[in-house]
């Protein structure tokens, strides 16, 4: 009975659109991959990794595969250690810079927009189509155009990363804000909470889990776009190095750059998983 009443009265703006926006961008499942627990499990994970990498190495040695066809893991490792300073550090820093600037711009706009839409749900129908278009269009496609506007520095890439990550953050955050339970809003109202208090004390913490998912997905899209944009244009960054080393058929170096990009991606995933565990691990 209480829920029925709620639907008709007090806070009815969270109810309607929950299913529209969730869609494909709702990747909460990605946060729930179980982590390894205990020394035994960690040992198993490491053993398997050694087995896989060692197996590849062994296979390449046994088949006598030339380096330009497939680089050996050992050669990649040696290059990573030996050439890190001279060859990889500078492009890594450029990519990180692009990524963080883009994410910061994109996510703050996305989060703000999600909050505004939560408080003004009537705007949602107007904005939704553009968000969907931005989510579904690969923003790398815009890089040549952006380069005409912003030149060959990191600006067009930062812009592309912001465009790729922002809508992801926005969609997931908006979904999170909409999940706010009417009962909790009624609770806040019964204690005289202002709109602002309602947002910071109830809506935002309740949505935090989905916001973090939004940041994680947005970051992964952002990294993808950063590296992709570097491959398309501009003379710096890890993406640029990928193109460069493959053109020179320097496959161990190509592999080393790939490993760095993968490590970057895994770090993003790990960081947000830890944040989620720390700040949003409560049971509903």
């Amino acid at each position: 009975m209480a829920t029925q009443i709620l639907d008709q009265g007090v806070p009815d703006f969270e109810k309607k659109a929950t299913d529209q926006a969730a869609g494909a961008s709702n990747m909460s499942a990605i946060v729930n991959i179980p982590g390894a627990k205990g020394i035994k499990e960690i040992a198993q994970v490491i053993a398997l990794a050694i087995l896989v990498v060692g197996g590849v190495e062994l296979l390449l040695v046994l088949t006598n595969t030339p380096e330009y066809v497939f680089p050996r893991p050992s050669a990649i490792g040696v290059s990573l250690v030996q050439d890190f300073g001279p060859l990889y550090l500078a492009p890594l820093l450029v990519t990180m810079q692009t990524f963080f600037y883009g994410l910061a711009i994109g996510s703050s706009i996305g989060l703000t927009l999600a909050a505004v839409l939560t408080l003004k749900p009537s705007l949602e129908k107007l904005i939704a189509p553009y968000i969907i278009i931005m989510v579904t269009t690969p923003m790398i496609a815009l890089v040549p155009f952006l380069m005409l506007q912003f030149g060959f520095g990191i600006e067009p890439r930062v812009f592309a990363v912001a465009l790729a990550s922002g809508p992801m953050v926005m969609l997931n955050s908006a979904t999170g804000f909409k999940q706010t339970s009417g009962a909790l809003i009624a609770l806040g109202a019964s204690y005289g909470a202002t709109t602002f208090q309602m947002f910071w004390k109830i809506r935002f913490p309740l949505a935090l889990r989905m916001i973090i998912v939004g940041f994680m997905v947005g970051s992964i899209f952002g990294l993808l776009t950063a590296v992709g944009a570097e491959m398309v244009g501009g003379g710096s960054g890890l993406g640029n190095r990928l193109v460069y080393f493959s053109a020179l058929i320097e496959m161990p170096k190509f592999g080393a750059v790939l490993v760095l990009i993968a490590a970057f991606g895994v770090s993003i995933y790990t960081i947000f998983t830890l944040i989620s565990k720390k700040w949003a691990s409560w049971e509903a």
């Binding site: 209480a2 609770l187 109202a189 019964s190 204690y191 309740l206």
Partner: protein, 268 residues
């Protein structure tokens, strides 16, 4: 005020509430006039959909009535009065990311007033929650969560406590414990309580007066004075006069309800 005639706390005059639904307008409550005295314990019962919850939400100011007036201490209600009224919901509504103590302190934060640690400590003790202050709601039982929500409301020292089927989701034994706890708290704090329930036995056990409502539109059908002595114990529930009162109210509710929920002996 004269002790023989306690002041009127809540005055309801010709209150109606209608909702607009897809199938047109529904009169949930119509022409409701009654009053609650200071320190009184009123229970509202009625068949499912009789408008008892709607009425309570009108009294809370969360869902303003369509017409008529609600006065608290002579002041017309226009919006929630957090300093006068504490609302207890069917769900405990504890914020899952806050500990029990942080939940109890939430209304203080919202009202921007200093936390009354001494009172909270006492209430927590009476409610049997000592030692669980730093637990998260997910770690507590349903009964404990609801006790926490009662402590949260009482810590604000409201004059009126509005309770919307607060124990409806609890099992029978927990529910009995909660009834006794509530009577104990009521006795100690002298609050005015309006309590909505679908259990007639619960209403008769707790209340000074029971308001029986009839459905569609929700109207006040009958007011039953319950003058069993206090403090009440569960023994009361087996006494003939208790059962007689129960029977007579049940007949009223049954007469008002056409549905077949009652055929199963279940009043909702």
């Amino acid at each position: 005020m004269n002790s023989g005639h306690p002041a009127t706390r809540i005055n309801i005059k010709d209150l109606s509430k209608s909702y607009k639904t897809a199938r047109g307008s529904v009169n949930a409550v119509e022409g409701f006039t009654e009053a609650v005295k200071d320190g009184e314990f009123v229970c509202i019962v009625g068949a499912s959909g009789c408008g008892k919850t709607t009425l309570l939400w009108c009294l809370s100011g969360l869902h303003p009535q369509t017409s008529g007036t609600v006065e608290i201490d002579g002041v017309p209600m226009e919006k929630p009065m957090p300093d006068k009224i504490g609302m207890i919901f069917q769900d405990a509504n504890l914020l899952p990311w806050r500990t029990l103590r942080q939940n109890i302190e939430l209304p203080f934060e919202i009202k921007k007033k200093p936390v009354n640690h001494q009172l909270i400590k006492e209430l927590i003790e009476i409610a049997g929650l000592t030692g669980f202050e730093n637990s998260f709601p997910g770690e507590l039982s349903g009964g404990m969560r609801q006790r926490g929500s009662i402590v949260r409301a009482l810590a604000q020292e409201p004059e009126v406590l509005l309770m919307d089927e607060p124990f409806g989701a609890l099992d029978a034994f927990t529910r009995e414990e909660m009834n006794l706890l509530l009577l104990k708290l009521w006795h100690q704090t002298k609050k005015t309580i309006v309590f909505v329930t679908h259990s007639i036995a619960e209403a008769v056990f707790l209340a000074d007066r029971v308001w029986v409502m009839s459905p569609r539109p929700g109207r006040l059908q009958r007011v039953v004075d319950i003058d069993f002595p206090r403090p009440r114990t569960f023994e009361l529930q087996y006494e003939p006069r208790f059962l007689e009162t129960l029977r007579s109210i049940r007949d009223d509710v049954q007469g008002a309800e056409i549905g077949n929920e009652l055929a199963n002996g279940e009043v909702k």
